[in-house]
Amino acid sequence: MKKLLEGSRAIAEAVKLCRPQIVAAYPITPQTHIIENLAQMVADGDLAAEFINAESEFAAASIVLGAVAGGSRAFTATASQGLLLMTEVLYNIAGMRLPVVMVCANRAVSAPINIFSDHQDSMTMRDAGWIQLYVESNQEAVDSIIQAYRIAEVCELPVMVCVDGFFLTHTFEPVEIPEQTQVDDFLPPFHFERTLNPSNPFTLGGGSEPDNYLEIRAQQQAALIDAVNVIQAIGADYAKLTGRAYELVDSYFAEQADTVLVVLGSTMGAVREVIDSLREQGQSVGVLRLRCFRPLPAQALVEYLSAAKRIIVIEKAFSAGAGGIVAAEVRAVLQQVGVLIPIDSYIGGLGGRDLKLTIIEDVFHQSSLAKSTADGVFLDLKQPGTATKQE
């Protein structure tokens, strides 16, 4: 049954359904409502977990690392600076192949300090070895979290569910929360083979040498690449249970369109409106949302984008000194299979700047950037001197 819930509450309900035994977190806007809800659930006895108030995000990540190694399902959430403070541990969790699930309430990275949403935080973690799922809505956040636990535990890889801060976390919208019995059927009790246990003493996180570091990393890479199949299979399984299907990528007329926009996250809703409007006007446009960004679903990108004549990427993060991250990766994937479609790379929505429908629509009307060296063009950029000075 659908309920109108704040996104953070819906996320907390989803986490609760997964029966984590340990929740560890450190507050940071816009993640706070998620962990406040979880803390209340624990306080009310509705969630049989221990809520551990970490003294930093670095510690929170470390605690869930330890909790999973210690044999319990765990959850954490953070954003922005908190995610960056976790960086060392996130790489470590992935390298140790620990099935941790976290939510990143996506937020801009300072300086200047800015609490509003963009994707720079989780994008910066793209090489950490985590599976990254970027969700469009709170419904998808709920569904992805439940799937994330199973994906993580099957692959022995950590999963980061990326939820746009405020746009999703603070928004009340209708969400269907699965029944506990449904989730219990879908997600088996936590099992981690390498659990620290005196009856089978195991060394986790030992040193390696030039001799074998490469091989271990190669295994990690192979596991991430293989995870594409696991994510799809588990997604299909979930669809059977709930009727809600999620793919690696989410196409809205992408495969039929001459011009395809590529986006991530909650922007997709507005883009759908724009696509509808443009298609009503007879334009051959579509959009492809990368739900799964890590592992990069190369095969799906090729399938959905090869027939396009023009690709536009709007992304809420960039690789400073280079340009759009997603754009570069999409370009690389297509070029690898010999598809040379012009790709226009736009960066927008940074620091909470709303990607208004008009701005999105305007991108379709812009002439192609192809053959220019411009890459990562900033959208909605104010002219010098016109940026407001606000509180």
């Binding site: 977990a49 930093s56 470390s62 605690i63 330890g66 210690g70 620290l196």
Partner: protein, 337 residues
């Protein structure tokens, strides 16, 4: 599994790559065999982690995990909570060096204590960053030579004092915090065993001589550690809920020179050519030796190491007896069953 020794488990077994005469290896072997293999060990980055896990080989015969440098206490918090969630009362032990305790790991340690996790945190204090080649830490004593506190025309080694981490930790209303060192095995044993009977966070700071970083002969690790205590520079004390509840009395106070002279890290103080006192306010070698003596005297006064009403003194604690004074509870046989 190593079952060579029927009288101890060798939780930390042979083939590790610690330097010859390593005090930390010695201390860790004592601690882990006193606790046994029925525990989960969480290690911070550092010498102990590096020399015990190398290239697909581990010296640990108990479950052991290492994550990163700063987070051992937090990882342990997670492990402990996970075990508790599963109704498993296996003890959780953190092992860290002074870097992972005094400096980069202090925040996580503070969090672990504040949250009351049932964890024993053991700091093997060798008073500098030895793993990276002897750089100064906040545990490095005053006037010590390290590669980042070198003596020179304007310097007599480390300018600052050794951080009193024990007081910081005790100030958390800590159920149990104590110091120990390898030379006094039976004292160390009593403290480990006591710590293991207490619920909640517990802390042991174990002075662990480093032949490389302290620049003494490999055979002198125990002797040097004994002198650190006998001079008063490293008091052996116990604090419970922030109060000093026990000290090891010094039967006789030795002058600090006895300790300093064995170690190359203090050598510059004895042949100091620095005339820096007037120029920079730094002292010359002789004055620094007097300063170290004064620091020892102050610690002795603070903990009443000469007057304490206790029969537990440096002589009594050292004494051996025929067939030993008792060793380790856990043997390989016990752990196997």
């Amino acid at each position: 599994m190593d079952k060579r020794d029927p009288y101890r488990h060798n939780v930390l077994t042979s083939g590790h790559r610690a330097c010859s005469g390593c005090g930390e290896a010695m201390a860790a072997r004592m601690v882990t065999d006193l606790i046994g293999a029925n525990a989960i060990y969480v290690n911070a980055t550092g010498c102990l982690q590096v020399f015990t896990t190398h290239n697909q080989q581990s010296s640990w015969q108990a479950p052991w995990i290492h994550s990163v440098f700063a987070n051992a206490a937090a990882v342990a918090s997670g492990v402990e909570a996970a075990l508790r969630a599963r109704g498993d009362d296996t003890p959780v032990i953190v092992q860290a060096g002074d870097g992972g305790t005094f400096d980069i790991g202090l925040q996580c340690l503070s969090g672990m204590i504040e949250r009351g996790h049932d964890i024993l945190f053991v700091c093997y204090d060798n008073e500098a960053y030895m793993n990276t080649g002897v750089q100064r830490s906040s545990s490095t004593p005053h006037a010590v030579r390290t590669t980042t506190s070198p003596p020179g025309r304007l310097s007599e080694g480390k300018h600052h004092l050794k951080k009193d981490v024990l007081s910081i930790i005790a100030a958390h209303h800590m159920p149990y915090a104590a110091t120990a060192t390898v030379a006094f095995f039976h004292d160390l044993k009593a403290k480990v065993e006591k710590a293991m009977t207490i619920k909640g966070p517990r802390f042991l700071q174990i002075l662990s001589p480093c032949p490389l970083g302290w620049d003494h002969d490999a055979s002198l690790s125990v002797s040097v550690s004994r002198l650190a205590v006998e001079t008063g520079l490293f008091p052996l004390v116990e604090l419970e809920n922030g109060e000093v509840t026990s000290v090891m009395r010094l039967k006789q106070q030795r002058p600090v020179q006895d300790y300093l002279k064995l170690q190359g890290r203090f050598k510059h103080l004895f042949n100091s050519t620095s005339t820096a006192e007037t120029a920079t306010g730094n002292a010359n070698g002789a004055a620094e030796i007097r300063h170290l003596q004064a620091l020892a005297d102050a610690r002795i006064r603070r903990y009443e190491l000469l007057q304490a009403e206790t029969e537990w003194d440096t002589v009594r604690a050292s004494q051996v007896q025929r067939h030993g004074r008792g060793g380790y509870r856990n043997t390989g046989q016990e752990a196997a069953s």
